[in-house]
Symmetry: C2
Amino acid sequence: MTDEKPDETARHRAKMEKRKAVQDAEVASKTIEKKGLLIVNTGPGKGKSTAAFGLALRMVGYGRKVGVVQFIKGAWSTGERVVLEKFGDLVEWHTMGEGFTWETQDKARDIAAAGKAWEKAKALMADPEMALVVLDELNIALRYDYLPLDEVVETLKARRPDLHVVVTGRNAKPELIEAADLVTEMTLVKHHFAAGVKAQEGIEF
Amino acid sequence: MTDEKPDETARHRAKMEKRKAVQDAEVASKTIEKKGLLIVNTGPGKGKSTAAFGLALRMVGYGRKVGVVQFIKGAWSTGERVVLEKFGDLVEWHTMGEGFTWETQDKARDIAAAGKAWEKAKALMADPEMALVVLDELNIALRYDYLPLDEVVETLKARRPDLHVVVTGRNAKPELIEAADLVTEMTLVKHHFAAGVKAQEGIEF
């Protein structure tokens, strides 16, 4: 493809120079150097917990401490466990919840489990060495009113200024989105379940 | 919360039993046991590459081999590298691309880099031990027509039946979405850049 016409090459370069100027201006417009972000991964699509897991791993790769509380048991699997255990003390991981609410069929037990998980979450967030705390499927507990929304949102807002927190799960509450710095909605465009394919090891679990 | 009225508890249980029956029926309706999935993470939101990274790590956690080709340099960072290197031979990782096209400003170089990356991708997909191949930011190369779309889509469709492939990047081509098994669109709901906050270590890079 080195036989490209010189004027096309020049045109491409000019266009990209312009684009780079826009990018550079955008970067320069940001003035807040360091801020712990409240990140919410929500929506019906895939990747909410997986992206949180990826983020946790990246942070660990920088040698920073990460805490995870799973509000629903089973959302993370053997694969995740093996990987996180490689990093020893850098990762503190708690599976506090029971299964999904339609598995337990016991509301009182679900509420008690959510309460315990939230206590653990607060303890992790209070640890001054934590760089990132993942509250996996917290949105589910909030959606079913298993936890007091006001208290949860206020506690998250009052976190240490440089602490990153990632909350995952469908149906994030508007109050949480309002308090968040970065919100991504994972939308389902197409799913192999619809084509009759079962959950695959390493992908779904 | 154990002072809940018995009839409310029963109502909750009945509702959840019904919901579980729906879930179980859905699971039972799936008959294809094992299939290598073509997964596409696209959209303007965050988490496309991070979720792919998380998926790769989970697969490695199961002791399966993973290959990664980065079509754009810089999309993955030091954090990712440190983590992946922990797994030695289970991960084969190639950064083939140059920077973003507005960084290089050289179309011929970008096309050559994309071609080389695609050759590497084909080699990884041909390795019978690979369980998952991540083609990070391939969508960008396709969007700028740096690679022949037809050939790429045909090659992906002709992959080994149990090989999972994850393609990331904005603006996935309709032909790729058509060929895919699982497509997630990451939508940006809210971003801290808009509030003047710079990219944060461990989060953006």
